[in-house]
Amino acid sequence: MALLSKKDRGLLLDPLADNNPITIQVLGICSALAITAQLKASIVMGLSVVFVLAMGNVVISLMRNIIPSKIRIIVQLVVVAALVIIVDQVLKAFAYELSKTLSVFVGLIITNCIIMGRFEAFALGNKPWRSFLDGIGNAAGYALILIIVGFFRELLGSGTLLGFKVLGDPITKTGLYAIGYENNGFMLLSPMALIVVGIIIWIQRSRNSALIEEN
């Protein structure tokens, strides 16, 4: 990746693992719990946040010298709200059923702490290109966790991936179900998403003890 300097690469790649917004900073948990029962919804939510955060970071960064400091937060809210409405309308036009599944959660991207956090902490003080990388990186870190959680919840809860019956058919008892396997309905409920996120946090910290906070 000669395209990017070492620092830029850090902006893009750190949030994927050692500075992940969900598992390290514990931001954006609400949507991670709510919409991850299906892998497809997780992917679309992840992509929507990538779009909103990358574009929002660039817009805020371009305006960083002209934004009046008194109404800074309102300006950030307007930018993210406008982008979210665009995402919502595009989903309604081209992925209607999915937009019904995501229902209020697309609207709630506005309140996703990762977005306001990156605007305030990064985009307001950095140039557009670096803000763009930071936005892509953080949103991708968020999307990565959503996809991992969505993968396990859909696989273990419904026995499907992206709607395909990968473990066999539970009604006609084929595949794994023929030998007595049952879907774990508990995986479809939000508490299991929290437990899966907890397990990811545990694995991550046991591999890298530098991430463990000292109390």
């Binding site: 009046p68 309308q89 595009v90 309604k92 081209f94 009604i171």
Partner: protein
């Protein structure tokens, strides 16, 4: 660089920002409008067919007829679309596009009530659209009745009921309970109520006009009761005359 702390600058910035963002959103909304309207049209057809039992349901999940097939299936199963206005019944092939919310707000004489007659395996169904209020926002749906006024299926949807509580009105385990309930007691309209503590959680008693309520969703449940009773009631005099 202008002084960004001045009040006049702040106000001008806010005004310009609102104008720019407003026109951007207006442009997006109007350019995507045709695609969204088309999706909403398909959704209505899917919902109507769902209520009369034309769906691809598997194991506890709601599955509609796929969007690419719905138009053909709709014209296959829905034999007639009627509009009831001021006591007169007329045919209208676009009746399913009528927005019930707007019509219920009209005066009695101007109100257009859509009604669909479906036919499946030799049986005829009346399909009645519903509209009412839940806890937070609008709820709506469709109910299909056979000629003896026994419910053959329902579909409910909502705009903003609480996820996990009131939002469960569109889950199979709630909607399926309505099938088989009678809305008339003798010749009197009785409706169906969403009842707590009717000692019938499995809904074995079909003639009591009650289905088991959802835990934690009292007001949404009452909204469903009120929606069915107030909307279906408007149709009863006409259904008696129609005699499918």
């Amino acid at each position: 660089m202008a002084n960004t702390d001045k009040n006049s600058y702040t106000i001008i910035f806010a005004v310009v920002m609102v104008l720019v963002v407003g026109s951007l959103l207006a442009f997006t909304a109007s350019s995507l409008k045709p695609a969204i309207t088309e999706n909403e049209r398909f959704e209505k057809q899917q919902n109507i067919l769902y209520a009369m039992g034309i769906n691809e349901n598997v194991e506890g999940a709601v599955n509609f007829i796929p969007t690419d097939k719905v138009e053909a299936e709709f014209s296959k199963y829905i034999k007639e679309q009627l509009v009831i206005q001021n006591g007169k019944i007329s045919k209208d092939t676009a009746a399913y596009l009528i927005d019930l919310k707007g019509q219920l707000a009209e005066d009695k004489e101007d109100r257009k009530l859509p009604l669909f007659i479906g036919e499946k395996e030799g049986e005829s169904y009346y399909i009645i659209p519903l509209y009412g209020k839940g806890l937070w926002d609008a709820i709506w749906g469709f109910v299909s009745l056979d000629k003896n006024f026994v419910v053959q299926g329902v579909y409910f949807d909502h705009k903003g009921e609480t996820p996990g509580l009131g939002a469960n009105i569109k889950e199979r385990y709630f909607m399926d309970d309505f099938t088989g309930e009678e809305i008339m007691s003798g010749t009197q309209f009785e409706g169906i109520s969403v009842a707590k503590g009717n000692n019938d959680p499995l809904n074995d008693r079909k003639d009591d006009g009650k289905v088991d309520a959802l835990a934690g969703a009292t007001i949404t449940g009452n909204g469903v009761t009120a929606m069915i009773n107030s909307t279906v009631k408007l149709y009863i005099p006409y259904l008696k005359d129609l005699k499918i």
